[in-house]
């Protein structure tokens, strides 16, 4: 390890705001050659923003950056790449129809002037892949590659341009344990070859196993810096979360009698789409008065499961029963008629029409179903009275039924969506990431509503990547891995380690504490 040498990159006093959100505040960071530096923090702690600044995607509001002791100011990724800084984004930046070689060579045109010289480029890329132990056919279009191979292509892209520093944003989120091991071997090899590596992550286990040096971010600021071994798991968690590992709140006691089943899913399967993951034989159950959490590493079928249950995609096989009635494949509108509330994971795509008013968004599903209209004409007065009440009840600001949805903050938009979906007192609520991107106040409000709904005897299926969130409210947790149920159990019977293991582990452990 060459930690004592001149820093490869020094960032000092970096701050960056997006509107009211302060993504980075006065961050200092020093990176060295030959080291894996781990940037640790919760979702939204400002890790990606900081690295996007280093990569030239964003300009910092304040602060300065030095590379090899020289001050730099990057206006674009091109500038950063020219100074040997490259980044692999969490969502891969690959052109699906280009071959591996084309993707790797893209943007590196200064090497051979005008002509592409395909054979020469192909040979170079193949040689480079070989050198770093990647087994790739460089003539294959990348859309045909596995996720692991695509990630290798991303790394090759940077190496081909002679990057000294490779930034990887959540590189393990898409990989299984075996692939993660292989990735770490590759990263080590890169460090041995004198490069510097940054991995952005929120997983403690990885940090402990691969990092030479660690910087922990919390709410946009540096919460801790350490060398490997200076902080243990608990210390890292404390720095990352600002408190001990989540305390288990008093959940509702077991009801004596078995509550009636609200939702029963059997053998649900869905083939993979062009950009969607498959589901294999998913089975789960939600009882009345119960919150069931769905979790897993992003891209393991949670989104697809929620969409299938919401009627947005039709499963290829399996049955979905609602209070014993088969509702497989029916539309979201029909599901609403059956007493299902739906909060999707992408509000702006599915749940809201930003150009329309709040009252119209509140009535989005009801009006096409025939409510609030007579002889085809809307009954605006009734709709407004109803909307005003919902807006007041849900503390939406502004409580003006005619305000444009798009003029509201994300938190207030989400309150409108929640208000709509709870307005009919649903038997079942399907909620995906209901508080993602919300400020603390709005998030708290949304959760209180969900808990109230449970207390009134409804069943709730809550898709969340945030284990704290689940531990705070969920009665049971279902972990998906590779589109299959990897673990299912009562929250109090499970440890976070078990859940983490099930999220990334290859083997499917037997269910714990099944009732």
């Amino acid at each position: 390890m060459t930690g004592g040498a001149t820093p490869l990159v020094t960032m000092r006093g970096i701050s960056k705001s997006f509107g009211n959100l302060r993504a980075n505040r006065d961050v200092d960071l020093t990176l060295y050659r030959g080291e894996v530096h781990s940037l640790l923090g919760e979702n939204g702690a400002g890790k990606s923003t900081l690295m996007n600044i280093l990569f030239g995607m964003y300009r910092p509001d304040t602060g300065r950056i030095e590379v090899d002791g020289t001050p730099v100011s990057f206006g674009s990724p091109r500038d950063a790449l020219a100074r040997g800084i490259g980044m692999v984004h969490q969502h891969f930046m690959l052109v699906p129809d280009f071959t591996v070689a084309e993707n790797v060579a893209l943007g590196g045109e200064r090497r051979h002037r005008l002509g592409l010289r395909r054979t020469r480029v192909t040979a170079e890329v193949a040689e480079l892949a070989e050198r770093f132990g990647m087994h790739l056919d460089v003539r294959t279009p990348v859309r045909l590659l596995s996720v692991e191979q695509q990630q290798q292509v991303e790394i090759l892209k940077l190496l081909y341009r002679g990057a000294d520093l490779l930034i990887l944003d959540e590189p393990t989120a898409v990989l299984g344990p075996v692939e993660i091991e292989r990735l770490f071997v590759t990263l080590r090899r890169l460090c041995d070859a004198g490069r510097g590596v940054v991995i952005i992550t929120h997983k403690l286990t990885e940090v402990l196993s691969v990092a030479d040096r660690i910087t922990v971010l919390r709410q946009g600021a540096v919460a801790a810096t350490a060398r490997s071994g200076e902080l243990d798991r608990a210390g890292l968690a404390l720095a990352m979360l600002g408190r001990e590992l989540p305390a288990l709140p008093a959940r509702r006691p077991h009801p004596d009698a078995e509550p009636p089943t609200v939702l029963e899913v059997e053998g649900l399967s869905l083939p993979a789409g062009r950009s969607t993951k498959p589901l294999h034989d998913v089975r789960l159950r939600v009882s009345a008065g119960e919150i069931v959490g769905i979790t897993g590493v992003e891209g393991n079928g949670q989104t697809e499961l929620m969409r299938a249950l919401s009627g947005l995609v039709t499963p290829s096989s399996g049955t979905v029963r609602l209070r014993g009635r088969d509702v497989t494949g029916i539309s979201p509108r029909q599901l609403r008629a059956h007493g299902v509330g739906i909060v999707t994971d992408d509000r702006l795509r599915w749940d809201a029409v930003t150009e329309m008013s709040l009252e119209e968004n509140l009535a989005l599903v009801d009006v096409p179903a025939g409510r609030f209209s007579r002889f085809g004409l809307l009954r605006g007065g009734r709709m407004r009275v109803w909307a005003r009440r919902l807006l007041d009840d849900h503390d939406v600001s502004p409580p003006d039924p005619q305000a444009r949805m798009g003029a509201l903050s994300g938190g207030n938009q989400q309150k409108v969506v929640i208000a709509r979906e709870l307005a009919h007192g649903p038997d079942l609520l399907l909620a995906s990431h209901p508080v993602r991107g919300l400020d603390a106040g709005a998030a708290d409000f949304v959760f209180r509503r969900i808990v109230e709904l449970r207390d009134r005897g409804s069943g709730i299926l809550l898709n969340s990547a945030d284990l704290d969130e689940l531990w705070a409210v969920a009665d049971r947790v279902v972990v998906l891995n590779g589109g299959r149920v990897a673990l299912e159990g009562r929250t109090e019977d499970l440890t976070i380690d078990q859940v983490a293991e099930a999220m990334t582990g290859g083997d499917v452990p037997s269910a714990v504490g099944r009732d």
Binding site: M57, Y58, M93, V95, L114, L116
Partner: protein, 309 residues
Amino acid sequence: MSQAALVTILSTGVLLAVPVLWAALGELIVEKSGTLNLGVEGVMLIGAATAALVVKAGAGFAAAALVSLPVGALCGAVLAYLYVSRRTDQIVTGILFNLVALGLTTTLFARYLNGVGEVSTAPRYAVPLLSRIPVVGPSLFTQTPLFYLSVAAAVLVLLAVHGTWFGLGLLSAGEQPRAAETAGIDVIRVRWKALLAGNALAGLGGACIVLTQSGAFLPNITNGQGYIALAVVVLGRFKPAYIVLGAVFFGIANAFQFQLQSLPFAQGYPRQLWLALPYIATIVAVTLSRSARYPAAVGRPYVPATRRG
């Protein structure tokens, strides 16, 4: 059908294909970069008027063709400013641009080009030897230089798009602009360049109508050929070779239609039915080629990540 009639149809068909071919090649470049340019119709119209003005001013056919290129590029700059820099809706902007082009060229026509004086078209050149092949010779190898050049241009476009670094950047901007940007490609710049080059070719295409077919400008002389070029690009599955074939197919359909009108059996049918053929063929073509995969990002204005922060 006699051999003479066949030669007439083929030879006229190729002649009629030339403007559409130039415009379609230009539009191919533009769409590959991620922009849908309905304004190609208006640019052709302006190119045609430009050529007529240059010829009227006393310069030769070659000069007229050459001048139409920068004029087309100028139109491209206007469109690029709107589509790419101002990020306006591409379909609406294209249609409105065509309205302006129609107004502009008709105004110019009324002021400078009215009174069809010297009707003449560019001469044809017979390629030595090849032009003596029966049927093929007189149809393919006895054409205006603008035809030979357009085929050469198709080859050049193919090479430029698939054999150069610029082409690789162009394709990435049209497929996955975010990926292109992170690789260091300036997506905005690439799309601007594509619109400049593509519309220069569309301008030349318009000039061909005047220089090789009509010999004079008339209001709205393009008559939808720009839109047909758009259809040819899709029908040609975004491949230059197929686009050449597609353009020639439309040209021959058009020539066939002219020829049919003069045949005895056609007399029983209304003339308009034959005139309608190219438009019906276009509808059939776009319906059949709906499965053709457009560049993934076509029609969507790009906001660079660096401009968001």
